[in-house]
């Protein structure tokens, strides 16, 4: 089991229970809030100047450690830098690590899962043993091992998280492929005399790959949390970079005097993860009842 498999199972179960077209199609308050936050993150990623016009690295020692106010919504840090500006401008690097890690995990997982599910017997057995070995380094352990070999930094942290999440994706994709392959419509296509390549391209792959969108959305939240955890531990992005995990790490020293330095970057990690879960489940419901 991995975090991802649990998330995917929950999204599926929730979608199954909310059966009926009317309920499935309804968009709730949580979905709207999650979408608004995701939109904010998108703008902050593409054009951070629009949501926070200041300079995230501008130092102003006279206004250090100011509590949140109208002038500084999220307060200021030890050098008088505006925390709101830094959090907004840090969106790019924080999401970049999470999204890139998710893509790496999804890519690795898709290749391994497809190979195992399609080629069968010997390959399937080998891939399954490989996955079992990867699962035996639970959670952050595989990522820490990877960082140990290739050294800390944002690039290795991204690869490490991607690699650590890959087995979860692979196992889900393989299971999906096997279930699609034994389904009635594939059997029908076989009976109708369609070629193997055509069945694979027209029937099996589209039905296997469509759920990847849901998986990717659900996985981003966890990937961002792990990437931030690595930065927090000093193994990913380093201060004064405006990355959320690194900002939290820097704020640790001033926890009792300047809570806002840690609170707001962490709040953004949490809100991003919640939004990813909510949106992933909404997409799952849509796909299931489309």
């Amino acid at each position: 089991m991995s975090d991802l498999e649990i998330q995917a199972g929950l999204a599926g179960a929730a979608a199954r229970r909310r059966s009926g077209r009317r309920i499935a199609g309804r968009i709730g308050v949580t979905e709207v809030l999650a979408a608004v936050f995701a939109l904010f993150l998108l703008v902050a990623t593409l054009a951070p100047g629009l949501v926070a016009p200041g300079d995230p690295l501008a130092i102003d020692p006279r206004s250090a450690f100011q509590a949140p106010s109208w002038a500084h919504w999220f307060g200021t840090d030890e050098s008088g830098r505006d925390v709101y500006t830094r959090v907004s401008h840090g969106t790019l690097s924080s999401l970049q690590i999470g999204v890139a890690a998710t893509l790496i995990g999804l890519g690795f997982g898709a290749v391994l899962g497809t190979v195992a599910g399609m080629l069968g017997s010997v390959v399937d057995f080998t891939v399954n043993r490989l996955l079992e070995v990867m699962f035996a380094f639970p959670g952050l352990l595989l990522a820490l091992l990877f960082i140990m070999v290739f050294g800390p930094g944002p690039a290795t942290a991204t690869l490490a998280v991607g690699l650590a999440t890959a087995p979860g994706y692979a196992r889900i994709i393989r299971a999906q492929l096997v279930s699609v392959r034994s389904s009635a419509f594939v059997e029908a296509a076989t009976v109708l005399g369609r070629s193997r390549a055509r069945i694979l391209l027209r029937h099996i792959l589209p039905n296997t790959l469509a759920p990847l969108l849901v998986l990717g959305t659900l996985g981003i939240g966890q990937a961002i949390i792990w990437a931030a955890a690595l930065s927090y531990l000093g193994l990913g992005a380093k201060p004064p970079a405006a990355e959320w995990g690194a900002m939290l790490s820097a704020g640790r020293t001033y926890l009792s005097t300047a809570v806002w330095m840690s609170f707001f970057p962490g709040l953004f990690v949490v809100l991003t993860a919640i939004s990813a879960t909510v949106l992933g489940r909404a997409v799952e419901r849509r796909l299931r009842h489309a």
Binding site: M1, I6, V149, G245
Partner: protein, 334 residues
């Protein structure tokens, strides 16, 4: 098996004698295959770790003598290489390593200059205590939340589900900071670093338990909702069993099933959580030892912790399988 065949299945005399004897033997074979598979995976884990560590840049002999910066004589380097067997061909080193591992010898730490196995054993107790207490507390939270939210109607369900999704999204490092600020800076109730007494355990355990409860609670609630719609609950209602009785006898058992099947995952998640939590609360343990070793590239210690955790994880998965068969009779025949 020299014992009379009738004793294996006394409850089922209608079965042919051959079948009656074959069942436990097949179960034994399956058990042996599971254990064999576990040993195979452990060996592969050791192999992967061994060769991955050979990719770590830098000369291990230099690392033993204090890192690349230290001025070491070629004679000293050669002596260390001979002592650690680093001058042997890689296959010999690999076989020697496997032999050592099989006898429980994990080598010596480069940085701390002590044998790894006793070092880890000394750190194990603290982490284990932390993990077990967190798991128990997470179970308690999760069952409570699931029971509450399946009972309380639509709003209660939404509240419960919202709480769980939120809890599951809480990163350990942020939750720990929040708990420290509230309970030690503002209220002054608990120490911000982990002291040896029970008071020092409260915040680390809460930090690990809350996100885990978020995950477990969601899974348990789904399982309860499925069970509440299952035929056996309908027939229990038809028999006139009380709602509380149905929940206690039938539904709670179903809610506990995913709790059991997820304990392997929960263990892994607690270990990676322990890396963060032990660092924040300055608590001695395996997690902090691992992080320190990764930071200074203390290869033997990292190998030791990784193998240790992998072995424990594989053992947990085996035990989980067994516990599931006990809790869910439907799995025994599968």
């Amino acid at each position: 098996m020299a014992e009379p065949v009738t004793s294996t299945h006394p409850a089922d005399p209608s079965r042919p004698a051959v079948l009656r004897r074959a069942l436990p033997r097949r179960a034994l074979l399956r058990g042996a295959a599971r254990i064999g598979g576990a040993v195979l995976v452990l060996w592969l884990v050791a192999t992967v770790t061994f060769f991955a560590m050979r990719l770590v840049p830098g000369d291990p002999a230099e690392a033993v003598l204090g890192g690349p910066g230290s001025q070491t004589s070629p004679e000293a380097l050669a002596a260390v290489r001979a002592q650690y067997g680093l001058d042997q061909p890689i296959v010999t080193q690999y076989l020697a390593e496997l032999g050592r591992l099989a006898t429980g010898d994990l080598g010596r730490s480069y940085a701390l200059r002590v044998p790894v196995a006793p070092l880890l054993l000394g750190q194990l107790g603290g982490t284990l205590l932390l993990a077990v207490l967190s798991l128990l507390l997470a179970w308690l939270f999760a069952i409570g939340l699931a029971l509450f939210s399946t009972r309380a109607g639509r709003w209660g369900r939404m509240l419960g589900s919202g709480l769980e999704i939120g809890a599951a999204a809480l990163p350990h490092f942020w939750l720990a900071s929040a708990l420290i600020v509230v309970f030690s800076s503002w209220l002054g109730l608990l120490p911000p670093v982990s002291t040896p007494g029970p008071a020092g355990l409260v915040l680390p355990v809460l930090t690990l338990a809350i996100p885990l409860a978020g995950f477990l609670g969601q899974v348990m609630r789904e399982s309860m909702l499925t069970a509440l719609e299952a035929p056996f609950v309908v027939s229990a209602r038809a028999r006139g069993e009380s709602e509380a009785g149905i929940r206690r006898v039938h539904v709670l058992r179903h809610a506990s099933l995913p709790g059991i099947s997820l304990s392997g995952w929960a263990f892994g998640s607690l270990i990676s959580g322990a890396v963060v939590v032990e660092t924040i609360f300055a608590r001695p343990g395996l997690g902090r030892t691992l992080l320190n070793a990764v930071t200074v590239r203390d290869v033997p210690v990292v190998i030791g912790v990784v193998l240790f955790v992998a072995a424990a994880y594989i053992l947990m998965t085996l035990l989980t399988d067994l516990a599931q068969r006990i809790a869910d009779p439907r799995l025994r025949r599968a």
